[in-house]
């Protein structure tokens, strides 16, 4: 506390000078966490449009093989592989992570803990610049000679290591460098999130007074930092194989392709929880606000999230059951994988239980939060089929896997984004979004979503394997009924993409002349709602940073007339 007083005194005389850079330079050199958050958010959304466009192209090819796709042209087999590879890579590394972690982590953490910025604002800016560079390099990789890398987002060697095999010499290396840079950006960003949450909390804010979304983003950052290391080492080895011709993954020289798989999935599995936990955090915060209820079992949720994170380090080889690993190992990983379903089920139960006894208002953000739960549940239960080694023999590399992970990733990355965006839009832009347009966009996204991926479950059960640009060569997969399913999925995607126009229209219209939001339009208890909308540089006047007197979800407290009790209100 005395540190705060010292800091305040020592900087008061500078208070006039420091407004931060102005004009266009603001957007290049600003170290304000809110601006950096916006940069991550809009870069992520832009990349999401590119990833979505790629999905549009390859789904058109799948539904109408050989078609001249409007806005692309005919899809060659090599282009098809590059499209699916980069669609996956973009959605995970350049959409889900920057939006859920970097954008909302950056925006919310200082605000929700009552701080004026992140602890290391210049490292924060550096992290975005590295991230932006990684995105530019990734996009560049699509246009170089030979085309973009087409070895799947998993990049298994020897295909990914040897240019003669992949035929995308430059593209493969650029893709790999882009991914590595993205990792560096998030390592840099993670330091800020973790340190800021640990140290810079408002006076009075104990560990269990921190809003769940902040905890989740930080646990995710820890998970990321501890799991990505071996893959960075592996990526360095892959890059050397690609460029210098070393033999780390070349069996002819004593190397081992399966080493890459282990290094990749040791990260790859915790990575899915890196993106899941923030989405759960967003969901539960929104549900608490619109059900007017404390989270059911805050500590239980917290410990379960940590347990999930820890367990996630022990399940990775369920991606490799039939890869050529020792078959006895598969049994170990089936056990651990099925075990991890327990804490995840628990997280889902807590979310459901929070609704009990509430007073639920179905605003647009609330609809998204509820949809997250409803859809993610499908993703979660279908994972069991894949974690059970005996069943995975059949399902591996089929569209069943693809449908499973879209039923997890879509709720995480897309529903989670729309939930957070519609909820915090009033704070970020000072205006309210149009709720009716919001609902139209919601239903226009959710309903088609199911019509895209349920057919893919069916196709997967029918044996349809992945990453195939045309099923004409497989008589069992070239039946009319299978083509019908592919077409239903594609048409649903077209419908869903069309409805996204409503979102962008709503966003722009509301930003320009939506009704003023005020400080706390949702009557929420957490600290970000105590300051102006949008918050000024420094978030609060320098001598008025909030103190905290209670937990983050004091809704419906029996001693209160009002159904919510802000964290910063003195007793």
């Amino acid at each position: 506390m005395s540190e705060t007083a010292v800091a305040v005194g020592h900087d008061l005389h500078e208070a006039h000078d420091h407004h931060g850079p102005t004009g266009i330079l603001k957007y290049i050199w600003s170290t304000d966490h809110k601006i950096i958050a916006m940069q991550y958010l809009f870069t992520g959304m832009f990349m999401g449009l590119i990833g979505g466009y790629m999905a549009y192209v390859f789904r058109m090819q799948l539904a109408f093989p050989g078609i001249n796709v409007p806005g692309f042209g005919q899809v060659s087999p090599g282009e098809y592989n590059a499209l699916v590879t980069n669609h996956g890579s973009i959605m995970i590394f350049w959409v889900a992570m920057p939006v859920l972690i970097a954008a909302f982590g950056n925006y919310l953490i200082p605000l929700m803990i009552g701080a004026d910025d992140m602890v290391f604002p210049r490292i924060n800016r550096l992290s975005f610049q590295v991230f932006l560079l990684s995105a530019v390099i990734l996009l560049l990789s699509l246009f170089v000679q030979g085309g973009g890398f087409g070895g799947a987002w998993t990049a298994y060697p020897p295909l990914s290591a040897v240019a003669e095999y992949n035929q995308t010499d430059l593209g493969s290396s650029l893709w790999l460098i882009a991914v590595a840079l993205e990792f560096v950006a998030f390592l840099l960003g993670g330091i800020n999130f973790i340190t800021t949450l640990m140290n810079s909390r408002a006076p009075g804010m104990k560990a269990y007074d921190i809003p769940m979304v902040c905890w989740m983003i930080v646990i995710a950052s820890v998970l990321f930092m501890l799991s990505v290391g071996p893959l960075i080492a592996g990526a360095a080895m892959l890059l050397l194989d690609q460029t210098l011709g070393t033999g780390f993954y070349d069996p002819a020289r004593g190397g081992d392709p399966i080493l890459w798989q282990h290094l990749f999935w040791f990260f790859g599995h915790p990575e899915v929880y890196v993106v899941l936990l923030p989405a759960i955090g967003i969901t539960i915060d929104v549900i608490a606000t619109f059900a007017r209820k404390k989270v059911f079992g805050y500590k239980m949720m917290l410990y379960t999230a940590v347990a999930t994170g820890v367990l996630s380090f022990f399940v990775w080889a369920h991606h490799q059951f039939i890869a050529g690993i020792d078959p006895r190992m598969a049994n170990v990983f089936t056990v651990t994988t099925l075990l991890i379903s327990v804490p995840i089920a628990e997280l889902c139960f807590v979310i459901v239980a929070t609704l009990y006894g509430g007073s639920i208002r179905l605003t647009t953000p609330m609809l998204w939060a509820l949809a997250f739960m409803a859809e993610f549940l499908i993703g979660g239960v279908t994972g069991i089929f894949l974690g059970a080694s005996g069943a995975d023999i059949y399902f591996h590399d089929t569209y069943f896997v693809l449908a499973h992970f879209h039923y997890t990733f879509f709720p995480i990355a897309i529903i989670g984004t729309f939930c957070a965006f519609t909820y915090w839009f009033p704070k970020m832009f000072g205006k309210m979004m149009d709720d009716r347009l919001g609902k139209i966009h919601f239903w226009g996204t959710i309903i088609p979503f199911n019509f895209i991926f349920i057919p893919l479950f069916v196709l997967g059960m029918g044996g349809q394997h992945r990453r195939i640009y045309n099923y004409q060569h497989f008589p069992e997969l070239a039946t009319d009924s299978m083509y019908n399913l592919r077409q239903i999925a594609t048409i649903a995607l077209l419908v869903m993409l069309a409805f996204q126009v409503v979102f962008f229209f709503n966003m722009i219209k509301s930003w320009i002349n939506g009704p003023a939001a005020g400080r706390n339009p949702w009557k929420s208890t957490t600290l970000e709602w105590t300051t102006e909308s949008p918050p000024p540089h420094g978030n609060w006047p320098r001598d008025e940073l909030p103190n905290v007197y209670r937990g983050p979800y004091e809704y419906g407290h029996p001693d209160r007339e009002e159904d919510y009790w802000p964290q910063n209100e003195p007793v």
Binding site: E3, V6, V8, M198, M225, L226, P230, A233, F266
Partner: protein, 189 residues
Amino acid sequence: MKPIATTRSATGVPTGRLAIWWVLASEVVIFGGLLASYLMFRLGHPEWAEAASHTNTWVGAFNTFVLLTSSFTAVLAHQAAEKGDGKAAAKYLVLTIGGALTFALVKAGEWTYEISHGYTITANNFWAFYYTAAGLHALHVIGGAIIMGFIAFDAYRGKELQRVELIGIYWHFVDVVWIFLFPLLYIAK
């Protein structure tokens, strides 16, 4: 002007120190992954002992001594910084940087010799790991030395003395990684 956030310390640990430990945690996993891969390969390929016999243990030992000494000077720098003596801290940091440069120069000579004798990164997978692991380490030595230079510059002017300890912690880590690399690459023959 620093944010108030930077000066708070709900855990009691200064934010800079907290941050550097998290950086080290992620670095440990990077090197850990690389070395674990190396170990698995080495155990599965006894014939690598032939290749490994060509690393120069004396040069490796000398570099180990250099790094350990530089860690010592980093400790002295920290002690000086604790006393508020920025100029002394800067002096010791410069000595540490000197150690880093010596290490890098010795390694450059070592590698030149080895490459000219055909022990290149593509010669076989032992050498591939040798150059990759030691190279990644060397990058951290050089990067650390550069940052240390900036901190020494500030310390000489009496500014940001708390960072002397932080770069010292990082430096000890770089040292510890080498303590693992030395036996794995030079002694195990």
